[in-house]
């Protein structure tokens, strides 16, 4: 069987071809290709590691930012509450002060009204007494003439007084 008996010539050429190919590739191709493959693998590994680190850092930064935001929100709420409280307080105080002032003004007004009234009363009393004296004088003067006339006089005088008031 020709197939199962190796030919010496073919063995020789096969060995020679294989040796030449091996030496040529060993010298020119494989080191470059293997370095390229290894280098790329390293670079990919480094890239993945870098990306993982970056992701971890980003996560951390995001967490921190979240914390800061939450803090800020809390502070904002606190400040708003405080402001609200202060607003109420200020309004309250203002109202109190206004009420006090108003009270004061009213008191002063009352006092001056009271005084004016008293003064008026006094004046009135003085006038009325003067008028009464005047009427009395006139009555006394007319009494001598006519009683009727006296009465009408008194009445007219009283009307006058009433109109005056």
């Amino acid at each position: 069987m020709e197939l199962f008996t190796p030919e010496l010539g073919l063995i020789f050429w096969m060995f020679l071809s294989f040796a030449v190919l091996f030496l040529a590739l060993w010298r020119f191709a494989w080191p470059v290709i293997i370095n390229g493959l290894e280098g790329r693998a390293d670079e990919i590994n480094r890239g993945v590691e870098y990306a993982q680190n970056a992701k971890a850092q980003l996560d951390q930064a995001r967490e921190e930012a979240e914390k800061y935001i939450n803090d800020a929100r809390r502070q904002q709420a606190e400040i708003l509450r405080e402001a609200d409280r202060m607003k109420t307080q200020i309004i309250e105080e203002a109202r109190d002060a206004a009420q006090k002032e108003a009270q004061k003004v009213m008191d002063a007004a009352k006092l001056s009204i009271e005084q004016s009234r008293k003064e008026a009363e006094q004046n009135f009393r003085n006038e009325v007494s003067a008028f009464a004296i005047e009427i009395a004088t006139k009555v006394v003067r007319n009494n001598l003439a006519d009683t009727k006339a006296q009465a009408s006089l008194v009445n007219s005088l009283l009307d006058e007084l009433e109109n005056k008031n």
């Binding site: 020709e2 197939l3 199962f4 008996t5 190796p6 030919e7 010496l8 010539g9 073919l10 063995i11 020789f12 050429w13 096969m14 060995f15 071809s17 294989f18 030449v20 190919l21 091996f22 040529a24 590739l25 060993w26 020119f28 191709a29 494989w30 080191p31 470059v32 290709i33 293997i34 370095n35 390229g36 493959l37 280098g39 790329r40 693998a41 670079e43």
Partner: protein
């Protein structure tokens, strides 16, 4: 699908008109002086014949001078039982003898073509790496690189680990060489068509190379395991039973490598040939049978060729993987013991 035409061409040459399947198959699986041309069995691409006669003189001439059945410088192609299809000489006594034959036959030229193709393909990847740094190539170069990377990362580095770089050049060369030979063998016209990996001489050389690499770079521990293995003393002292078995094992590994690749590739080619010849066997039974058998045969051939493409990759992969495992077994150090034993 040039196979049917080729088979037809070869069957034509037998003047009797009888189809002789065995002869056709072995003719196509074997080597030849001159490369067949499609559609013509008379014309062949002539190749140089280099022979040394029994007087020690070298002769070199074109195969065209002897392929027609002629005799040139005392040499002709034998058609007898012995040395059939080979160049033979006739000595002074009239006896036929086989000269020392270093002819550039069809297989040898196919080898050269494969070497050039593998070299160009690998250099294209190397050139890319030189020019583009760590960027990944695309298209053709990318496809070759994917195959190289698959073998380097998936087989060589996975098995040899830190020693991968030392043996990768040899193993990668073996893989690419076998793969290209397998695939070229499936192309039926000129640069392909030579059944290289289905030739035992080719696989034998590759297996011997693996054998040499395995044993020349074997560690002290590997040799100790062979010559003085860790077995009870009576198995190795008066009669060296275990060492003999281990030494025998050293040689069965390359033998297994040789036969596995050879038989697988030859089997694939043979099935395609048989399916082709079926058409010509059925041709004698009338047009209807011929038509049916042709359709069925061509479909099966197509299927088998597709399977053979797969087998080409698988066999190159298996040869490389087994070589890697054999080398790694010889690289064991005492502290790594047992790590690779499951792999064999």
């Amino acid at each position: 699908m040039f196979t049917p035409q080729r088979a037809f061409a070869s069957s034509e040459s037998h003047d009797s008109g009888e189809v002789n399947p065995k002869e056709i198959i072995f003719h196509h699986l074997g080597d030849g002086y001159g490369w067949e041309v499609p559609f013509s069995h008379e014309h062949r691409i002539p190749l140089p014949v280099i022979v040394r006669d029994n007087e020690g003189e070298w002769h070199c001439f074109s195969s065209a001078r002897v392929t027609g059945g002629d005799t040139y410088e005392g040499f002709h192609i034998s058609h007898g039982e012995e040395y059939s299809g080979k160049i033979v000489g006739v000595d002074a006594q009239g006896n036929i003898y086989r000269p020392l034959d270093f002819s550039i036959t069809k297989n040898v030229l196919a080898l050269f073509i494969t070497v050039v193709l593998v070299f160009l393909c690998c250099m294209s990847v190397a050139r890319w790496h030189k020019r583009n740094g760590h960027k990944a190539p695309r298209k053709g170069v990318g496809a070759i690189e994917v195959v190289i990377e698959f073998i380097y990362d998936g087989v060589i580095k996975a098995i040899l680990q830190d020693k991968a770089r030392r043996f990768a050049p040899y193993l990668l060369t073996v893989f690419m060489f076998i793969l290209f030979m397998n695939l070229l063998g499936l192309i039926v016209i000129f640069p392909g068509g030579a059944n290289l990996t289905g030739n035992i001489a080719v696989t034998l050389v590759l297996a011997v190379c693996t054998f040499l690499v395995t044993n020349l770079f074997g560690t002290k521990h590997y040799w100790k395991d062979i010559l003085w293995p860790d077995v009870p003393l009576w198995l190795k002292c008066p009669l060296p039973i275990m060492p003999v078995i281990e030494i025998f094992g050293m040689f069965t590994k390359p033998a297994a490598l040789t036969v596995r690749l050879f038989a697988n590739m030859m089997g694939g080619h043979m099935i395609v040939m048989v399916l082709t010849i079926l058409i010509f066997i059925f041709a004698a039974m009338g047009p209807a049978v011929t038509a049916t058998s042709t359709v069925i045969s061509v479909l099966f051939q197509l299927f088998m060729l597709l399977i053979d493409v797969l087998v080409s990759f698988i066999q190159a992969y298996v040869f490389t993987m087994l070589s890697t495992i054999f080398i790694s077994l010889a690289q064991e150090n005492p502290h790594q013991e047992g790590e690779h034993h499951g792999a064999e």
